[in-house]
């Protein structure tokens, strides 16, 4: 495709959505993705050989290949340095792409068609209305039709219950909170996770059907591999966890107007300045990640959907106009991790079973929301990932942090020795809670360029984040609520890991709406340049998972972009 109307940079949570929407409106779209494409016949060995150039038909999608590549082994899939889901080139013989982090923590992003949604847990809550209304340049009400469209397309449903959710709900209820079975959260309470995971197949409890047969049917099998990569379903477009590579990408290809090119790292936005159009985007320079060859591609409109680190990096590396908010204002929900270890005698009366088995069911299927503070979510993962999460601590080893008499936890900090053995021996009797804070935007946080270090894609990004006093206060309150929930559920021991500030799992607000882009997500300073990723969020949405809001905004942006530049009435 040489004369596309629109180039979209990134095939992740936002890029795939805007590509599908624009394709359905009749525009020709070229999506450029830096990483590999898993499950496409044109790349039968995506981590070993360059394969094809691009793909524009659903006929290329191959579910058998997909199942072979997403083999559910946590090291093979999730290792941040060499796993299939890493921020790096398709060729796993090469190192990952370098990021310069200014604080302790982990940056958890993936390249590849589907982007970080390949490994996400598919949580799709809407923003808290109070975090949008009279704060953002658009109202919550304006967002609702777009939320509804994405929720119906993915689709989004309340998660099924397994043992770990039942225990979470039990603890929340015992702690005095109410069930709030709503999508529009206006007060505190617990609820099932609204997530983009197909409900279990009606045969989920039919033991005449084998587990393997079940994994070829439509619907979640409760296999618990959301983070390791879900390969279960009869075809690519019916895979249970709705990463964009299995949801919006097939829909985009169905339009006949969308072409996706993996292994293409965009290293520059090309602009032109003339009296009639002003400064505007006209194309991009890309670098083939296998050959290193560079190429210039042009389109009427450019959409950046490269994520909250790469979008500002690309802006800065392209020498686009100065703006004090480019890259600035990063929020990451200042996350934390609280775990409860239970005894068999306490679990049996609640669950009817002696174990929680955290590896069963949707990874993050129960939540507690508290507008003004943030959220708590139950998490159950494979053991390697679980163990590694115990080791990231702002307060060092637990022997340095003996609890005070009134502390709601028994252990604080990084586990070691007996405590570590006890915790991992109790893996099947442990309930983990992710704390996600309504953290404040601070212009000192964000993405800058390293003045000296470059890789093959330009100056490398520097990621900086320190929570504000207010964010620290909120996280402290949430940690106490998590400990109380676990204790009320019957936990014998509560562990507060005290994560460092740099846990970059939900990265948002580095190209903020109202500051870098207008309310239709077009750049103020470079016309015909749009953004459709988490970076445009005005704030942290109240502490809720960001993807659904990005997808709703991308849907809206497609509509606005089409109306403005392609001169047709909707």
């Amino acid at each position: 495709m040489s004369n596309q109307d629109v180039i979209v940079i990134g095939a992740g949570g936002g890029g795939a959505v805007i590509a599908k929407e624009l394709g359905e409106l009749g525009l020709t779209v070229l999506v450029l993705e830096a990483g590999p494409w898993y499950g496409n016949k044109k790349w039968p060995n995506p981590n070993l050989q360059p394969g094809g150039v691009s793909s524009s038909t659903k006929d290329d999608l191959d579910v058998t290949l997909y199942k072979q590549l997403l083999n559910k082994f946590e090291m093979n899939m999730n290792d941040l340095v060499s796993g299939r889901f890493r921020w790096g080139p398709a060729d796993r013989n090469r190192s990952q792409w370098f990021r310069h982090a200014n604080q302790k923590g982990v940056i958890w992003q993936c390249s590849g068609v589907g982007g970080t949604t390949q490994t996400y847990t598919a949580n799709c809550p809407r923003a808290f209305p109070a975090a949008i209304d009279k704060v953002w340049p658009l109202s919550y009400r304006e967002l609702v039709p777009y939320y509804e469209k994405v929720e119906a397309t993915l689709p989004v449903n309340f998660a099924a219950t397994t043992a770990k959710e039942e225990l979470f709900y039990y603890g929340a209820k015992k702690a005095g909170w109410n069930l709030i079975p709503t999508l529009d959260v206006k007060g505190p309470g617990y609820r099932p996770q609204p997530n983009a995971i197909l409900p279990p197949n009606e045969n989920i409890t039919n033991l005449n059907i084998t587990d393997e047969q079940l994994s070829w049917m439509e619907g979640c099998t409760l296999a618990g591999h959301c983070i390791n990569g879900c390969p279960h379903g009869p075809s690519i477009d019916k895979i249970a966890k709705r990463s964009t590579n299995v949801s919006y990408v097939p829909l985009a290809l169905n339009t006949g107007n969308v072409c996706i090119r993996p292994n293409a790292f965009v290293i520059e936005i090309i602009t032109e300045n003339n009296p009639s159009k002003g400064l505007h985007a006209i194309g991009v320079n890309i670098r083939d990640t296998w050959t290193g060859e560079q190429e210039e591609l042009r389109a009427e409109i450019i959409v950046m959907a490269a994520g909250s680190i790469e979008s500002p990096r690309l802006w800065l590396n392209s020498g686009l106009p100065d703006n004090p908010w480019v890259g600035k204002g990063l929020v990451n929900h200042y996350m934390d991790w609280v775990s409860g270890i239970f005894d068999e005698k306490d679990l049996i009366p609640i669950l009817g079973t002696s174990d929680i088995n955290p590896y069963v069911g949707n990874t993050c299927a129960a939540r507690f929301d508290y507008p003004g503070l943030g959220t708590l979510q139950s998490v159950g993962m494979s053991p390697g990932l679980t163990a590694s999460f115990y080791e990231l601590s702002q307060s060092g080893y637990s022997f340095l942090n003996k609890p005070e008499i009134n502390d709601p936890w028994d252990i604080k900090g990084r586990l070691y020795g007996y405590e570590l053995k006890e915790s991992m021996d109790s893996y099947r009797k442990t309930l983990n809670i992710l704390v996600s804070t309504d953290d404040e935007v601070d212009q000192r946080n964000g993405i800058t360029l390293d003045p000296l270090l470059r890789d093959e894609n330009g100056f490398v990004p520097v990621v900086s984040y320190q929570p504000t006093k207010q964010s620290r206060r909120k996280r402290g309150q949430l940690v106490n609520l998590a400990a109380d929930l676990l204790r009320k559920a019957g936990a014998r021991k509560v562990i507060w890991t005290n994560w460092p500030a740099g846990m970059m799992i939900h990265i948002e607000s580095t190209m903020r709406i109202g500051f870098v882009v207008d309310q239709d997500c077009e750049s103020f300073q470079v016309k015909r340049l749009y953004i459709a990723d988490n970076s445009v969020h005005f704030n942290s949405l109240g502490g809720v998972n960001p993807t659904l809001t990005t997808q709703a905004l991308a849907t809206r942006t497609a509509e606005k972009l089409f109306k403005k530049y392609f001169n047709r009435m909707l």
Partner: protein, 219 residues
């Protein structure tokens, strides 16, 4: 170093340092099992987890960046081993070791591996608190407090992820490039925590607490 399938370093100093590190983080232990009695549970050293830590350190920085660090011929694992020794030296200098040094457990190692396991963790704490002279460290740690502190979490996280993942079961293929590794037996870390491994599905479906009523897309 790119992940070209080259095996891990053979430098005995580096190997000794990381063996002693993973031993301190995930030591072997005894566990009481019903009907069997007391069983030995392997620690990270017995599962060769130190090789993974060294492999990751030496494959984590891409060539163009190493070049600008003036680190092309350097080894991240060697610099990190020296960083651990700097922490050990400081702990000793402050007179804060709990147990006497023991040079026999890891004869090729440096000060860090001569410490008792708990003192190794306390040496890491000293580094984490930046109570060492950053000027004397090797590249890339020299005068780089952010990286020094970050690495102390990484050095704990990597052994834990590795030990309890499928990596030890890659057996003879464990140090190959990821595309060429093959699981040769059931991962011991998974056995230890009773994780059944990759699954097609489970039947513990307990219904729905609530249901979303969708509007049609075209409404």
């Amino acid at each position: 170093m790119e992940a070209s399938g080259r095996s891990v370093t053979l430098n005995p100093y580096i190997i000794s340092t990381f063996r002693s590190l993973v031993e301190a983080i995930i030591p072997p232990h005894l566990k009481q099992k019903d009907y069997i009695g007391t069983v030995h549970v392997a620690g990270a050293q017995e599962l060769h987890v130190y090789e993974y830590v060294i492999w990751i350190l030496d494959h984590s920085i891409a060539f163009p960046v190493k070049e600008q660090f003036n680190f092309v011929n350097g080894s991240m694992s060697k610099s990190t081993a020296e960083l651990l020794d700097a922490g050990a030296a400081r702990l000793i200098q402050k007179g804060q070791i709990f147990y006497p040094l023991n040079g026999t457990a890891y004869p090729s190692g440096g000060l860090f591996s001569a410490l008792s396991p708990i003192d190794r963790l306390r040496a890491i704490t000293i580094i984490e608190r930046l109570d060492i002279n950053l000027e004397y460290l090797s590249i890339p740690y020299k005068n780089n407090p952010v990286l020094v502190r970050n690495m102390m979490d990484v050095l704990n996280e990597l052994p834990m992820f590795c030990h309890y993942s499928e990596w030890p079961a890659y057996g003879k293929t464990r140090l190959l490039s990821p595309e060429y590794r093959r699981v040769e037996y059931f991962p011991p870390g998974w056995f230890q925590v009773q994780y059944p491994g990759p699954s097609f599905g489970y039947r513990d479906f307990r219904g729905f607490l609530a249901i979303i009523q969708h509007r049609k897309v075209d409404q």
